[in-house]
Amino acid sequence: MLNISKIKKAPVRKVFNKILNEVSMWILLLPAVLALIIVMWGPITQVIGFSFCKLQNYVPVEWVGFKNYKDVFTDPLFFVTLKNSFLYVFWSLVIGFIPPVILAVMLNEMMHFKTGFRLLLYIPVIAPSVAAALIWYFMFLPSSSGVLNMFLNFFGASNFAWLQNSAFTIPLIIVTMTWKGTGSSVIIYLASLQSVNQDLYEMTAIEGAGVTRRFWHVTLPHLKTLLLLNLIRQIINIFQIMQQPMILTDGGPNNASLSINLHSYLLAFRDFQPEKSLALNVVVFIILMIVTAFYFIVQRKLEND
C-alpha cells in the first residue's frame, strides 16, 4: 500500500538534509560575507544613498534628488579633473606599463647577479609613499638647490621649472610613481616567466628563433592574461591617484595636475561640501565599474580563446 505521508515528507527532508549538509559551508562563508558587507557593500550603498541628500553632520536631512550630481557636472573643475585623470592613465601606460615587462624578461634571461638586481629594483617599493614623493619633490625643486637642476647647472644649462611647467607636471608625477611601482610589477612578471615551460624555449631555439621571436611566440602569449590583469589594475589605481599630486604640486599649477580624487578630497575636507564629494565619488565608481566590466569581458574572451 502506498504510504502518502512518506511521499510528501521526502522532499522536505531532502531540503532539510541539504541545509544541514551545507551548514558548515554557510558558517565558513559568514565571516567573509560579513566583512564584505561591513567594509565594502555597506559604505558603497551608503555613499550612493547619501549622494542624493543634503547632509548635516553626515546625517541626511533632506532628499535633493540629482542636485548634487548637477553641481558636479556644472563645476568646471569636474571636466578639468576628469581630463587630468585620463591623462594620468595615458601617461602611466606610456611610461609605466612596458618597462616592468622588459625588466622582468631581462632579469629572467640574466645568468649572474639576478638576486642583487631583483633587490635593487624592489627597494623603491618598500619606501613609504610620502617619503618617496618628498624625495622627488627635492629632485624637482625649480631652484638651483633642486637635484636635477644641479645636474643641468653642472652641464652649463639653466634651471628648468619641472613640476611648475603645466605641460610636464602629469608625466613627471607618473615618472615618480613608475620609479616606485616598477619593482613589484617586475617580481610578478618574473614569477610568471619562471613557470614557462623551458622545452618551448629550447624547441623554438632549435628551430632557429632569435630572442625577439621567442619573446613574441612564447613569452608574450604566456604573459597575456597577467598583462591584461595588470593593465586593468593600473588603470583603476592611477585613475584614483591622489597622494602624489597632493604632496608634489597640490594639484597645480592652475589645476594642471588636479586629479578627480584629489578634487573630491578637497571638496569634502577643505571646502566642507561632502555631498558634492560623494556624488563625484559615485561618478568615479561608475566609470571604474565600466572599466572592470570591460576587463571581465576581455578576460572571458581570452580564456575561451
Binding site: E22, L29, V33, L34, L36, I37, I38, W41, G42, T45, Q46, G49, Q56, N57, Y58, V59, P60, T74, D75, P76, L141, P142, S143, S144, N159, A161, L163, Q164, N165, S166, T249, D250, G252, P253, N254, N255, A268, F269, R270, D271, F272, P274
Partner: protein, 467 residues
Amino acid sequence: MKKRTLLAVVSLLSVAALTFGGCMPQKTNQATDVTKDGKIRVSVGNWPPDNDTARIETFNKYIEKMNEKYPEIEIVKDTWSYDVSTFLPKAASGSLPIVFQTYFTECNKIIDAKYAKDITKQVQEWGYDKKINPQLLKLVQRDEKIYGIPSSAYVLGLACNVALYKEAGLVDSEGIPLFPETYDEMLQNAITIKEKTGKAGFFLPTTNNMGGWQFVAIARGFGAEFVEQKDGKWKAIFNSPECAEALQFIKDLKWKYNVLQDDVLCSVDEFYKLYGNNQVAMGIMQGALHSLPVRLYNMKHENASMTSMVGGKAGRYALLGGTVNIISPNATDAQVDGAIKWLEITGVTPEVTEQTEESWKIKFEEQKASNRIIYDFDFNIWDNEDWKTRRREVIKPYVNVNEKLFDRYTDYSSIELRSEPEANAQDLYAILDSALQTVLTEKDADVEKVLAQAAENFQKNYLDKIN
C-alpha cells in the same frame, strides 16, 4: 541558483540595515556633560602635547586658577587642534572638544556647516556683545546671532628680514631697515636685495588659499574690489583694470624683475623656512607668527622686523585676521558658560583684573622660556582702550626685541583695516590661487583673460548659487 539568491537576499538585507543604521541620528557626547560628582565637564581643545613642557606648565597653572575660582567645573584636556583635514570627521562624529580655536578665515564655513553653537545668550549675559571690537564681532556673527569669541586678532603686515636688508645696504644708521611705504618702493628694495645678495626679494604663497588671501590685500591697494551686493544679489567685480594691474604687478615680480622665490607652487609654510633661514627678504604675514621661523628654524630675534602693509595708488589696506574660540554644537548651556569661564581664566576677557594680568604674565613667562619673540603684536579684540594700555604695561618688561623693528607694524594710523570679501571668501581665494599660479608659471599668460575667466568661474559656480 537558490544559494546565490539566498546569499544575495542576506547581503542586501544587511546592507540595507547598515545604510539605514547610518542614517539614524548619531548620539552626541551630551551624556558626559556632568561628572559623577556633579561637576560640569568642559573639554578644551588646543591643549599642548606632552613634549611642549613650557606650555603644559602654563595650562596647568590655568587649571589651578580654574579650580580655585570655579570648582564646579572640571576641565578635560584635548590635544586636538583645528586642522582642515581632521576637522570634518571629528565634527561629524560628535567628538569636538567643547571649546576649540580656529581662524577667522575658517569661521564662515564652520558656521554654515552648523558645527558652531549659537552662544548669543551666554555672550549677552557676560556682556561681551557690547565689549568685543565691532569689526571682529561681525566676523563671528550670522543673522545677528553670535557663534564665537575672538581670542586674538592681528593685522597683516610686511615682514622684512634684517640680515638681508643689512647685506643689501638698505638700513639706516641704527641698523633699522629702510621700510618701504609703497609697492613701488617694495619692488625697488626687492630688486636691490636680489642684486646685492642673490636672495629672493619677495615671497608670495600660491596654495591652500593663502595666495588668494594675500592677493586680496595687495589688490585693494591698487583699487580693486572683489564682490558687491546689488538688489540683494552678489556680483564678482574683480575683472577690473585695477585688479589686472595688481596681477600684472605680481607677474612682473616673477618674469620682469625675477625677485620672487624660485618655487612658486608653495604654501605660506615655505615662507617661514626661507625667511627664518635668511633666504627671502620680504613677505606678508601677521606679526605674532614670527614665533614660527624662530622656533622651527632658529631665526635670530634681531633678524626679524615688520612694517605695515605698503600702499598702492588707492591707499594702504590691511586684512584683519586672528583666532576665535568656537563652542561645539553639542555643548549644553552649562558647558558654554563653563567654556567662557575657562577663557576668562586664560586672559580672554574684556575686564582687566589682577587675575587677568596674572594670566598674561603666565603666558609671557612661557614665551620667554621658549625663546619666542615677545612684543605686543596683537590688535585689540575688545572695544576698550584701557585693556590695551594695561596689556602694554604688563608686556613691557618681557619685550625681547628692538621695538623700532616692529613699531611701524602696530601703528595703524596710516592704514585702513578691511575684513575679508563678504561672500564665499574661501572659494574666491582658491580661484585666485589658480590665477596666481597661472601668471607665475606661464610667461605669456594674458592677465586680463586669466582674471576674466576667474571672475566668470566665481560668479557662475559660487555667487549665482547663493543669489
